[in-house]
């Protein structure tokens, strides 16, 4: 990564949300890499950027189309890459033509000069990488935003070589692994479709029961069904939707409605309040296992102390399965990994024995495979191996500021805290540093509303109101305010919107209309 010539950071604030990733990026910057930052907030990286694209939330697609258009108009594209490894280029070209500089400036609020300079820096680099974060995915057009970014990378051929490509920074320690290993309604472990008879047959043979071919419900749909009274029993493992999901009033109603709720967690959370049975969880220090990081690197988690409640989750799930008539016993998590390796090709060569020596990046299909550091070096993951350009249009956010709710709320994280804060709020030193929620508001808006740092303010949307102290800072641009979701005393997600990406179900945490008052 330090060999990058141009780094394009889009919708990601790694110095706060991924501090160690930010160290790699800083190394690249010290070695002279150019930096483009696309972010509505003036982050640490934005302050140091060669070009800061201070776009309006919800205008990602317009931004990307505009950049691609500038590149094509100037002939800065990688013609050889486009010809050999992609298809659908003409349609893309026609689409982005609609996004001339004047229109893009209007939609994004970013000056024409900055757009041209960003396009130049990205396209002229020998090795350029795009790093994006939740500022891309946590929009109702999240999936399309990611596709729009892929268009830009493909047009310039910045893929499939070291120090190029697109890197998505993920929020939680094991987001990757949790997706890889099957707790998804449409796929069995290893992204094998429940609709695929061969995949089902493999698992039926291994597990000795028929596998349903009916796609299950997504978590948000299960909650909707709970509220509608059709869903009767729910087991929630290590998750706190009653603090971290958007539109909390809806979530709370759903959790109240379900007849039987089991929650397994290490602390009492907003969600455990609704439970009928709470099972104690074991922290990462209390069990053996593996996590898979954002670069598909499978690494060991090792037990340092005994589980405080006597059992780790893998033991509890096995015991419950056995009690419910499905006999299941493992002596150690390494046996579960062996079973994973036998059923999931990407993990086929992974075992605790190998992980003892070093971490492995999947795909690692066999015991003698070294793992894979760079993907898509020659072929993309489509039947013909070619990448397909997607034509996309600006749609904006599900909710935009209006007369009644004139400000736009962006939510995110601070470095010192983590998600619902149940862990970091119990670290006294961290609470000494960051004891409470702060609403970041721009100096212009603060002046207009007569708000000073430290004043208690009310942030309200159509769905509810939260109170927190204000922090006047030029990190927020005029019209935008920022809050985290780390504190149980200021449940920011009461305010956030119900709009979601229709493809992934990811909520639009990054944009909702609010009013601010003292």
């Amino acid at each position: 990564m330090p060999d990058i010539e141009t780094l394009f950071l889009f919708g990601s604030n790694p110095t706060e949300a991924h501090p160690i990733v930010s160290l790699w990026l800083k190394k690249a910057l010290r070695k002279g890499a150019k930096l483009i930052v696309g972010d509505p907030r003036k982050t640490w990286m934005a302050e140091r950027a060669d070009v800061w694209l201070n776009l309006k939330p919800g205008s990602n697609i317009a931004m990307m189309n505009g950049l691609v258009n500038v590149i094509l108009e100037n002939g800065w594209e990688n013609k050889e890459f486009i010809a050999k490894r992609t298809e659908g280029f003409d349609a893309l070209k026609a689409k982005v033509k609609e996004y001339d500089l004047g229109r893009v400036e209007k939609l994004t609020g970013v000056s024409k000069e900055s757009i041209i300079e960003a396009a130049r820096l990205y396209s002229h680099a020998g090795k350029a990488m795009i790093v994006y974060g939740l500022g891309v995915t946590e929009h109702q057009t999240g999936t399309e935003n990611a596709m729009a970014i892929a268009n830009l990378a493909l047009v310039c051929g910045h893929l499939g070589r070291p120090s190029t490509g697109i890197m998505a920074l993920r929020g939680q320690n094991n987001v990757q692994g949790a997706s890889d290993l099957g707790p998804l309604p449409a796929t069995l472990p290893g992204y094998q479709s429940v609709k695929d008879p061969k995949a089902r047959e493999k698992f039926e043979k291994a597990w000795g029961v028929p596998i349903s071919d009916k796609i299950g419900l997504k978590s948000v749909e299960m909650l909707d069904e709970c509220k509608a009274g059709k869903f009767k029993g729910l087991f929630i493992l290590g998750e706190d939707p009653a603090q971290t999901d958007p539109d909390l009033n809806h979530v709370n109603k759903a959790l109240e409605s379900v007849e039987f709720l089991v929650v397994q967690d290490i602390f009492h959370t907003e969600t455990t309040k609704h439970a009928d049975v709470i099972l104690p969880g074991a922290s990462f220090a209390e069990k053996d296992g593996t996590f898979t990081n954002g670069e598909r690197r499978v690494q060991r988690v090792r037990k340092a102390i005994e589980p405080l409640a006597g059992k780790a989750e893998w033991q509890v799930i096995s015991e419950l399965a056995t009690r419910m008539g499905y006999n299941q016993r493992y002596n150690h998590p390494s046996e579960i990994m062996d079973e994973i390796a036998s059923l999931v090709t990407q993990y086929g060569g992974i075992s605790y024995e190998r992980l003892e020596k070093q971490s492995l990046q999947w795909p690692c299909p066999t015991k003698d495979h070294p793992g894979t550091t760079t993907m898509y070096t020659d072929l993309f993951a489509r039947a013909n191996g070619l990448a397909l350009f997607m034509t996309l249009d600006h749609k904006g956010s599900g909710e935009v500021p209006d007369k009644e709710y004139p400000y736009l709320l962006i939510t995110g994280r601070v470095r010192e805290h983590y998600n619902n804060g149940s862990m970091t709020r119990r670290v006294p030193g961290i609470m000494e540093l960051v004891p409470e929620e702060l609403v970041e508001i721009s100096p212009e808006d603060a002046k207009k509303l007569d708000i000073k740092s430290g004043d208690m303010v009310k942030v309200s949307s159509k769905r509810g109101t939260v109170k927190a102290k204000a922090k006047v800072t030029n990190r927020s641009q005029k019209g935008n305010v920022f809050m985290t979701f780390h504190f149980d005393k200021a449940l920011t997600n009461i305010v956030t919107s119900e709009h979601r990406d229709p493809i992934t179900g990811t909520p639009e945490y990054k944009s909702c209309a609010v009013n601010i008052s003292k």
Binding site: P183, V209, D276, P280, I305, M423
Partner: protein, 354 residues
């Protein structure tokens, strides 16, 4: 840069190395130990402590191995009598302004200066010099600073500026009074520090230590367990330091592929939750609106009965599970398996999308 390898001979051992390698790097690769205090592989070579000096054939004066690049057919000797004599003097000079209070020092057993003093058989008695007598600084929750133990290797300052780019500390003052400190010697707060503790992780002596772990055990009291951080998705490795069944400290694993020993404030200092009194330690069953402690047997029995009867009454599709991006791969696999084999549906999802 040419890919051609260079031939270098160190202590009679011939080896091939890259053009931009330093003598220290090559020596380390072939297992020849050269002492040093100011070097950290996370940092640019500095050449400050001079302990890594070696004899290079044809060069009249000793050269520092950490800053000298290799050359074709270079012949290096790491331990001549002259070199050893100089190193001894260097260590003695460092000890002349050091508290030498190893018996009560946090870093005993894990201190590079102490180890060198032992290795070269020297103490602080040869030079009687002026000594610092400054108070211990505990002006923040995480990092304790004992300036008297600082040897001015500059590692903390360099890691803060080169790697973290936080600019929290720099060498302040002149001559004998120069030392690493914050601007205007202000306490560390979020205004000037990220509390990542990289400075602590690189300090070779007891000058910078983890405040929360002080008095909780020294290196030989602690069991080190290498693991992967459970906060964000970066995948940093570190050591949990355990004593009497309690995690008392997190220390860097400089061999970690992702983070090379660097951590953030959460990874390094965010471990207190592990044995926090609020932890749920037994299963709890809600009875008349209140949670009542239960045994595992009671709780799991109730869950099994309840889910079974709900499925019987309302069908398999009426129940489901949320898995967690916070749990291990093995647990996610098992919950996915549980829903498919016990609930016999695909009503399982994780929080990745939220």
């Amino acid at each position: 840069m040419s890919d051609r390898k260079l031939k270098v001979i160190i202590n009679g051992i011939e080896t091939l190395c890259d053009r931009d390698d330093t003598i220290l790097k090559v020596a380390k690769k072939i297992g020849v130990k050269i002492p040093h205090l100011c070097n950290d592989k996370r940092l640019e070579p500095y050449g400050g402590c001079r302990l890594c000096i070696v004899k290079v054939k044809g060069v009249p004066r000793p050269l520092s191995a950490c800053t000298t690049p290799v050359a074709e057919n270079m012949e290096v000797t790491t331990d001549t009598d002259e070199i050893i004599r100089i190193r001894k003097t260097l260590v003695e000079l460092l000890l002349s302004n050091h508290p030498n209070d190893c018996m009560r020092c946090e870093r005993t057993g894990d201190c590079k200066l102490q180890n060198l003093s032992y290795e070269y058989g020297v103490d602080g008695s040869r030079f009687e010099g002026e000594r610092w007598n400054l108070p211990i600084r505990e002006d923040n929750p995480f990092i304790t600073y004992e300036p008297n133990k600082c040897i001015l290797c500059g590692r903390c300052v360099r890691i803060c500026n080169e790697v973290v780019m936080a600019g929290t500390i720099d060498l302040v003052g002149r001559g004998f009074n120069s030392m690493p400190d914050t601007a205007f010697r202000k306490p560390r707060t979020l205004d000037n520090c990220e509390f990542c503790g990289q400075c602590v992780s690189t300090c070779p002596t007891g000058a910078l230590t983890d405040r929360k772990a002080r008095g909780k055990g020294r290196i030989y009291d602690l069991k080190k367990v290498k693991t992967t951080c459970s906060y964000c998705g970066t995948g940093c490795n570190f050591f949990l330091n355990v004593r009497n069944g309690r995690v008392v400290k997190v220390t860097s694993d400089t061999s970690a592929p992702v983070n090379q020993g660097n951590l953030c404030v959460k990874g390094r200092y965010g471990y207190d939750f592990i044995d926090h009194p609020d932890r749920i330690k037994t299963p709890l069953i809600k009875k008349n609106g209140k949670f009542v402690e239960a045994t595992w047997d009671e709780a799991l029995g109730l869950i099994a009965d309840k889910f079974s009867s709900l499925m019987k009454k309302h069908g398999n599709e009426s129940v489901g599970a949320f898995s967690s991006s916070r749990c291990t791969n093995e647990e996610n696999f098992l919950l996915s398996k549980f829903v498919r084999t016990v609930f016999r549906s695909n009503n399982v999802d994780n929080c990745a999308r939220v």
